[in-house]
Structure formats: structure tokens, C-alpha cells
């Protein structure tokens, strides 16, 4: 006999685990189905920062604040395991006076949205980050949020889901979704048996379009690759999460050459953050790609960018490079939505903010399934917003 549950979550990354967590917490019986191991895809190949620094002003920034507060609440009050939460603030660096003026504008906008941030001049910046290149002009400091290890976060969420009575079926592949005569979701078929359910949440990230196809739902999520370089743990590069503001001024329509053209081609900018294991992660890149191998051209451009901001890093070892595939949505906002198929929900397309948005996304899906009012305006996250 097939088992029967209130909801089936497809995908064992941070998004799927967050959904399973909220559904179980709200008293629903839930099975999470994952084709491989937990946190084995995009969630294991990202950084884990949860800061509110570069979101558009207004509602999007407000939602991001809510999302980050959900992460913090989980990490500090709900999960039973340490996830290497680092709460040390962050700097958005301005290379010169012109960028500093842009930074001031960004800082003002964020302050108007209630985000805790302030401008920091060169002297204070270099006192806080002694290895920074001397010519870096200044920075915005953000003091809300923090960073974590997405892998530890995922496993901790998985344990919590099971503690709350949820079931996790790893190494189980979804082979189809059967619908009832009225068109609604009825059964999830897997290579390890069928599961009867009225609710299916597609949280398969970059693979979510394939799951959508099983019920005829078109999900416009594509793969956007990103590389990270890992520095050895013997040397402390930065004391906190640090990124550059200049990346935002590198537009696709600019005619550039040399190194700038490589940066433009692969969407390369600088960030670094210390991890709980005392390595430094160096980012970042952003370009369409479907494999998780790293390539020399990108690694080199990222390494050069890192040396520009932290010259001492030239003598530090890279021990590993990795790349992940962000589930990209056309307007860079996640899809957290009901669909034309009753009982089939999409929670995907979180772009580069899946860790920060995961817990809130799960909460919002649970609210939808329970028929409650959502914490935020859901129109922005509706699957069909792209049709207009």
C-alpha cells in the first residue's frame, strides 16, 4: 500500500528542507524526496551570506529583512546544531571617490528602509580591515544579518524536520506525478514507491522545471553559474564579509577590453568572507552555465580581482575552487507560488539568495497550503507574473 501524507516536498536543498521544516512545524505530515543526498547541489556550492546590502529599495528590501530575521530565528532559537553563524557585520567597498558617492546614495536608501548601516571613511575602514589595499576609499557598513555554513545549515534543518515528525527519503527519484480526474495533484511516483498526497511542493531548484513538466507547469528557471575560490585556513584575509560596490557599475552594454571584458563576460566581482572553519571564501562570478566544473579563465580573473583589494592574498594558497548553479528567474525574484494545477506549488528561482530566502519561502508556502494570509504580498512571487 502506498503511504499517504499531507504534503510531499521535492528537493533536499535549503529551499526544500525549509519547506519541510515549516510544514512539519505547522502540524502537517510531510515527506521530503531527494534524488541524492541532502544539500548536495546548489546549496553545497554557494557562500552562505545573509546580509541586506544590495536589494532594491522598498518592498524588496523589507521582504529581505523579514527573510534574514527568519534565518536568524531558526539559527538562534530553533535548530539544535551549530551552523557556524558569524555575525560580524559587512563592508561594501568603494574603490574611489566616485564610487563612494554612489555608496552614500545606497546607504541613504537602505537607512530609509530601516536597515542598520552607515558610511565608514578610509581610516576607520583600514583599521577594521588592515590587509585591505591602502587606496580603497571607504565603505558602507551593514550590521544586520550574518553568514553561515549552508551545508551545516542543511543537515541541521534535516535533523529538525525529522524531529518534528517529517520524513526524509534520500536517494529517491521522483518519476512522475499523478493527477486526480479533477486535475488536482493525487500521487507522487518515485523509484522507491508511490506517495499519496494532495500537495506537492517543487523545490528542486535548477531542476524544478523538469518536475513542473510532469504536471504541465512551465517554470522559467534557468541555470546561472557562480564560482568560489577557497583559501587555506592558515591566514586570515578579512575580518568580516566584504564585497565591492564597483561590480554594480559594470553593465553588459559597455564596450570593454582586457581584464574588464573578462569580468564583464563572466560577471566577476570581488567578495571575501571568513568561514567558521577559518578558511576564506573568495567570490564571485555570474554567467549562464550548466556544469559545476571551474575554468581557469574565471579563476584567474577572480584571483586578480581579489589581489586588487587584498594584495597580501597573492601569497595565500588556493586549496579548492568550486562552482554552483543558481536557479535563476527572469526578474531575479523567487517564485513562491500556487499554480494552475491545484495542489502543485513552486518554490524555486531564488537566484543568489536561496539561503537567506529559504526559511521565509517555506513559511509562505505553508501559509498558502493552510489557507492563511501570507506575511508578505505574494503577487511579486507569483509564477504567472512573467506572462504579462
Amino acid at each position: 500500500m502506498s503511504k499517504s501524507v499531507d504534503a510531499v516536498v521535492i528537493g533536499g536543498g535549503i529551499i526544500g528542507l525549509s519547506n519541510a521544516y515549516w510544514l512539519a512545524k505547522r502540524g502537517l505530515s510531510v515527506v521530503l524526496v531527494e534524488a541524492g543526498d541532502l544539500v548536495a547541489g546548489t546549496s553545497a556550492r554557494c557562500d552562505g551570506n545573509n546580509y541586506i546590502c544590495d536589494t532594491a529599495p522598498g518592498e524588496i528590501t523589507q521582504t529581505m529583512r523579514l527573510a534574514v530575521s527568519e534565518v536568524e530565528n531558526l539559527v538562534k532559537n530553533e535548530l539544535d546544531e551549530d551552523v557556524d553563524w558569524i555575525e560580524n557585520g559587512m563592508f561594501t567597498l568603494a574603490e574611489d571617490e566616485e564610487q563612494f558617492e554612489q555608496a552614500k546614495k545606497q546607504c541613504r536608501e537602505k537607512q530609509e528602509d530601516g536597515v542598520k548601516c552607515r558610511m565608514v571613511d578610509s581610516r576607520e575602514l583600514h583599521e577594521a580591515e588592515p590587509h585591505l589595499a591602502p587606496d580603497i576609499y571607504g565603505a558602507i557598513e551593514f550590521t544586520e544579518g550574518g553568514s553561515l555554513s549552508p551545508i551545516l545549515f542543511g543537515f541541521a534543518l534535516g535533523k529538525k524536520v525529522e524531529k518534528l515528525g517529517g520524513e526524509i527519503q534520500r536517494f529517491t527519484r521522483v518519476t512522475g506525478i499523478e493527477r486526480n480526474p479533477d486535475g488536482s495533484v493525487g500521487k507522487v511516483l518515485t523509484d522507491k514507491g508511490d506517495i499519496l498526497t494532495k500537495n506537492v511542493i517543487d523545490a528542486a531548484g535548477v531542476w524544478s522545471p523538469g518536475i513542473g513538466k510532469m504536471v504541465g507547469v512551465d517554470i522559467p528557471v534557468t541555470m546561472m553559474k557562480g564560482d568560489i575560490l577557497v583559501a587555506e585556513s592558515d591566514v586570515k584575509v578579512s575580518n568580516r564579509y566584504v564585497c565591492e560596490i564597483g561590480y554594480n557599475f559594470l553593465r553588459n552594454d559597455m564596450k570593454l577590453d582586457g581584464e574588464d571584458a573578462v569580468r564583464q563576460k563572466y560577471g566577476i566581482g570581488f567578495l571575501t568572507e571568513p568561514t567558521g572553519a577559518d578558511n576564506s571564501l573568495i567570490g564571485f562570478s555570474k554567467y549562464p552555465g550548466t556544469d559545476t566544473g571551474t575554468n581557469f579563465e574565471v579563476t584567474r580573473a577572480m584571483a586578480k580581482r581579489a589581489i586588487r583589494f587584498y594584495p597580501m592574498i597573492a601569497d595565500v594558497n588556493i586549496i579548492r575552487t568550486y562552482a554552483g548553479l543558481r536557479p535563476w528567474s527572469p526578474d531575479h525574484e523567487p517564485i513562491i507560488s500556487k499554480t494552475a494545477v491545484p495542489g502543485f506549488y513552486v518554490c524555486s528561482g531564488h537566484c543568489g539568495s536561496g539561503i537567506a530566502y529559504g526559511p521565509l519561502s517555506g513559511k509562505l508556502i505553508a501559509q498558502m497550503i493552510l489557507g492563511e494570509a501570507a506575511d508578505v504580498n505574494m503577487d511579486r512571487y507569483n509564477l504567472y507574473r512573467f506572462n504579462n
Binding site: 548536495a40 551545508i151 579563476t299 584571483a303 581579489a306 589581489i307 601569497d315 588556493i318 579548492r320 575552487t321
Partner: protein, 268 residues
């Protein structure tokens, strides 16, 4: 002709053809070194080890060593100095030939033992008697075993079976030695990240089913050496705990740059 890229060695006919085997006249006079090195790698301890100047590598250091058989006295010092264990001493001066070879396995055979002689491929050739086991401190833990074999087989016999058992029994015994199920919990498996066998067993108990799954749960293999030291041990422990066979366990994904290189290297 065998294909060295598939077998990993040159046979005696190929060595002869390449002019890299002592002459029969020299072998008939007494012990002589047989240098079976066939890799042009930067390596010359054999040259400096020979007190009689019988071995020449010269410049460049990637040359293959050349033996001057008139100078060689068959002392066997070079056997212990060759990191590739590619040097032997053969003596065809008496009714029975002798073959001396490096043997870095325990337990060592003892003088007078009857052992199972094998060829370069490790295949059984014949039974043989052990004449000498030389494990002097100067050998630096590379014992030399000398066995007595029929002359006509002495060009092919190059070692003995490790445990002196039949092939089947030996395989079974070696698998027993390779049993990691009783590995002590406090054994440090990943030195870079200080992960113990106990941590790894715990991760397996919590559901890790791959080397990568163990890595994600424990950080074994995430340190400076990127698992070059520990990943084989991790997969053996995984096998011993789950019953998975070695060929069912996928190795961890290798990530560039494989060996640590500085950011500065990428600048140019």
C-alpha cells in the same frame, strides 16, 4: 611484445632488445645488477649508491641509468636505494640461479623457507628456497630477499607471493588485513581537519552514503591536502561500515587546482 602502458613493466626479452639486460656471459660469471628502470624521471640514487662507479645516469638527470657490467660486483646496494624498486641482482654462475629483489612487506620470509616465486606480473612461476634475507639498518627498511630458482626461470622471476599462500587464500587474507570495521574511534583519519574514525562512523550512521556525504558532514578531505591523504581511508571505512565493495564507492570529486597554489600564481 607486451604493451608497457598496459602491463606496467618490460619483460626480459624487451629489456634485452633494448640493450638493458646484462649479457649471458656476465651473468654466468656471478651476481650482477639488473636495472629494469624505464621511466625518464629526475632520479639518480642508484648512480650515487654504487661504490664501483658501475651505474651512470649523468646529465640530464632524467636519463635512464646505464650499467657497466664489467664494473658491477653484484653487491646489491643499489637494490635498496632505487625508490621505484626496479633493480634486482641475478646470478647464474652455479647449477641453480639466484634472484635478489627488494621486498617491503611483512611478514618477511626466513632463510630456508619454501616460498612461491612470481614473475613481473605477480603470477606464480614455481616454488623456491630462500637463501638470504638482508634487512640491515643500512637498507633503510628495504629488505633484500635472495631466492634460489632454476636458471631458465631466473630472467622472469622477480619476487615472491606476499603471504606465501595460494592466490585465492592470499586474496582472502589480504582482504582481512584491509578490514576497517574495527578501526579505533580515536584514530585521526583526516589530519588537515582533524577528523577521527569515530566522526566518520557517526556520519555514516547518520546517513552519509558516499565519500562526498562524509566530507560534507565531517569536513574530512576539505583541508589543505584536499583529501589526497584521507579519501582512500574514508572510502575503506565506508565500505567496512556499509558492506559496499571498493568498486561501488565513488571517489570524491577532484577540484582544481588539485595542489594548493598561491593566488599570485594566477596573476600572470
Amino acid at each position: 611484445m607486451s604493451d608497457i602502458t598496459k602491463t606496467g613493466f618490460l619483460n626480459s626479452a624487451e629489456l634485452r632488445e633494448a640493450g638493458r639486460y646484462p649479457s649471458e656471459e656476465r651473468l654466468a660469471k656471478g651476481p650482477t645488477a639488473v636495472i629494469e628502470c624505464c621511466q625518464n624521471i629526475p632520479c639518480n640514487p642508484c648512480e650515487t649508491a654504487c661504490r664501483f662507479g658501475a651505474i651512470t645516469v649523468g646529465d640530464p638527470i632524467t636519463n635512464l641509468p646505464v650499467l657497466d657490467e664489467s664494473k658491477c660486483v653484484g653487491c646489491g646496494v643499489c637494490i635498496t636505494k632505487c625508490p621505484g624498486l626496479a633493480i634486482f641482482v641475478v646470478d647464474k654462475s652455479k647449477d641453480m640461479a639466484t634472484v635478489s629483489f627488494p621486498f617491503e612487506y611483512l611478514p618477511l620470509p626466513e632463510k630456508g623457507d619454501t616460498v612461491k616465486a612470481v614473475d613481473r606480473a605477480g603470477q606464480y612461476v614455481c616454488d623456491a628456497r630462500v637463501l638470504r634475507v638482508n634487512n640491515a639498518p643500512a637498507n633503510d627498511s628495504t629488505p633484500i630477499v635472495t631466492i634460489e630458482v632454476p636458471k631458465e626461470l631466473s630472467d622472469d622471476i622477480r619476487s615472491i607471493r606476499r603471504l606465501n599462500l595460494s592466490e585465492e587464500d592470499e586474496k582472502a587474507e589480504l582482504l582481512k588485513i584491509d578490514d576497517w570495521s574495527a578501526v579505533p574511534d580515536d584514530l585521526v583519519v583526516c589530519r588537515c581537519e582533524e577528523v577521527t574514525a569515530g566522526d566518520i562512523k557517526k556520519a555514516i550512521a547518520e546517513g552519509a552514503a558516499t565519500v562526498e556525504g562524509i566530507k560534507k558532514r565531517t569536513r574530512a578531505g576539505m583541508g589543505l591536502c584536499q583529501g589526497r591523504t584521507c579519501s582512500k581511508l574514508v572510502s575503506r571505512i565506508l565500505g567496512s561500515q556499509t558492506g559496499m565493495k571498493a568498486d561501488e564507492i565513488k571517489p570524491d570529486t577532484a577540484r582544481m587546482p588539485i595542489k594548493p597554489v598561491s593566488f599570485g600564481v594566477y596573476k600572470e
